[in-house]
């Protein structure tokens, strides 16, 4: 039973141990409709592992994962595609779900790569491929989006635009987003909840709470803390438990 109908995925004290080594341990978090949860943490702190646990890719985990939707869009951090496959962008878009042409074009336009539709996937640049990955994940209008460093390799202006797009998608589709990012600046302005990982949950809360947390300061340094605080601002609305928006 889920206590709250808005919960899409919930991790209860989840962890993964491979060859007697804990990749990540004791993670509890939940992603709700219309909310963006961001995982931050240094390299090797278990961010991608946590995302994969939430997605159900790992079978033998500690703890529990409650997943309440199968409409999932995933942008993995690393993707190795075998070029023995003749695969165009268009074929890649319909990989896990049948979509009509309009939906494909719409998603590709949103991430600015509709002109690449008939290109071979292997001929794309890193940034172009990243935009296609994001377009594919959003095109199926998922309930839950898991984005593992979705803008890596994208040029600076594109990066800002894509983060804005992600925020917009979260509002329009009312889907929950589990985001992993290194870029504290851009992420923090849009995030509802931050989970700071370092092999375990080091601290979590709103971006501001996390910024003030001493463990976070110790992990990222005083400067990073200032970056976060800069995004302190007044909200003109609140989110109710039912996921609706209430003006103050």
């Amino acid at each position: 039973m889920r206590s709250n109908q808005n919960i899409l995925v919930k991790l209860n004290d989840a962890g993964l141990q491979i060859n007697d080594k804990w990749l990540v341990k004791g993670v509890s978090l939940q992603v709700e409709k219309g909310k963006i949860v961001t995982l931050i943490g240094p390299n090797g702190s278990g961010k991608s592992t946590t995302a994969k646990i939430a997605l159900g890719i790992y079978k033998k985990i500690e703890g529990e994962v409650e997943k309440y939707t199968n409409k999932v869009g995933y942008v993995p951090q690393k993707i190795s595609i075998d070029w023995t496959l003749p695969l165009r962008v268009n074929d890649f878009m319909v990989l896990t779900e049948n979509l009509n042409n309009e939906t494909i074009d719409e998603a590709l336009s949103l991430t600015g790569v509709v002109h690449l539709k008939d290109k071979n996937l292997g001929d794309l640049s890193g940034g172009e491929f990243q935009r296609v990955l994001l377009a594919r994940a959003i095109s199926k209008k998922p309930d839950l989006l898991v984005l593992d460093e979705p803008v890596q390799g994208v040029d600076f202006t594109g990066e800002i635009a894509l983060y804005e797009l992600i925020k917009k998608i979260s509002d329009e589709l009312n889907c929950g987003i589990l985001l992993i990012s290194h870029d504290l600046h851009t992420v923090m302005s849009a995030t509802d909840h931050v989970v700071c990982l370092n092999g375990h949950v080091c601290c979590s809360g709103s971006p501001l709470d996390v910024a003030k947390n001493n463990e976070y300061k110790a992990l990222f340094g005083e400067q990073a803390s200032q970056i976060l605080s800069r995004y302190e601002h007044k909200h003109d609305h609140i989110h109710t438990d039912e996921g609706e928006i209430k003006k103050n």
């Binding site: 997605l55 023995t84 003749p86 990989l95 896990t96 898991v146």
Partner: protein, 267 residues
Amino acid sequence: MFDDFFIRALIAGIGVALVTGPLGCFVIWRRLSYFGDTLAHSALLGVTLAFTMEFNIALSVFIISSLIALILIQLQKKTNLPGDALLGLLAHSSLAVGLVVIGFLTFIRFDIMGLLFGDILAVSVDDLLIIWIGGALILLTLKFIWKPLFASTVNYELAEAEGLNPDRAKAIFTILMAAIIAISIKMVGLLLITGMLIIPAAMARNISTSPQKMVIYSIIGGLLSVIIGLFTSLEFNTSSGPSIITAALLLFILSLFKIKQSIKLKN
């Protein structure tokens, strides 16, 4: 002009090519050439079993090949040996055991050459039924698992994350591999079945820009190979398997000219 057996062989060959086309693409994409070889080698054991127990050959081959696939999966889990070593181990030992068993069965006359390289004279009306009904079942099943199988071929984690159950698709595909070997053994022979799977698909890869096109070209390539190969076999009295595979090779060589052009364009 055609004797009855030749028409039968032609119909059987066309049936086989229709199925090996799409399956062969997956064999290439998923790098399963040696897996196919291993299953095919184990087919000899299936054939001998069929003779000793007076059992249907195709069914017996299907059972033994599936069994070998299961043993392989278990060995992969239990041992630290690399996959190719395990494949070699199973391929050669099952072939050897099959040949030893044949040695004991002195009361039955075996056409070893026919088993290894295919024999168009041996195709009966029953075989036609097995090929076309079995082939239709294989294609239907493949259509059913296409989405998860293809998605996990491109990227396993994406398929798993987005709820497509790739493990089930993979298991079903393994059974389909055993099935195609069972129904094509009489036409192509057990040493050359994998060739029938790989070569037309490899030819198709050279000239295709999308997965769908590759499947279609692979089927066309297989059909042409069967037709050219069987006529050659009739004309020069060669074994059907090698003739079909040689025809497929010629088509592959022709396709190389096409790939050269597209590489030139790219640069």
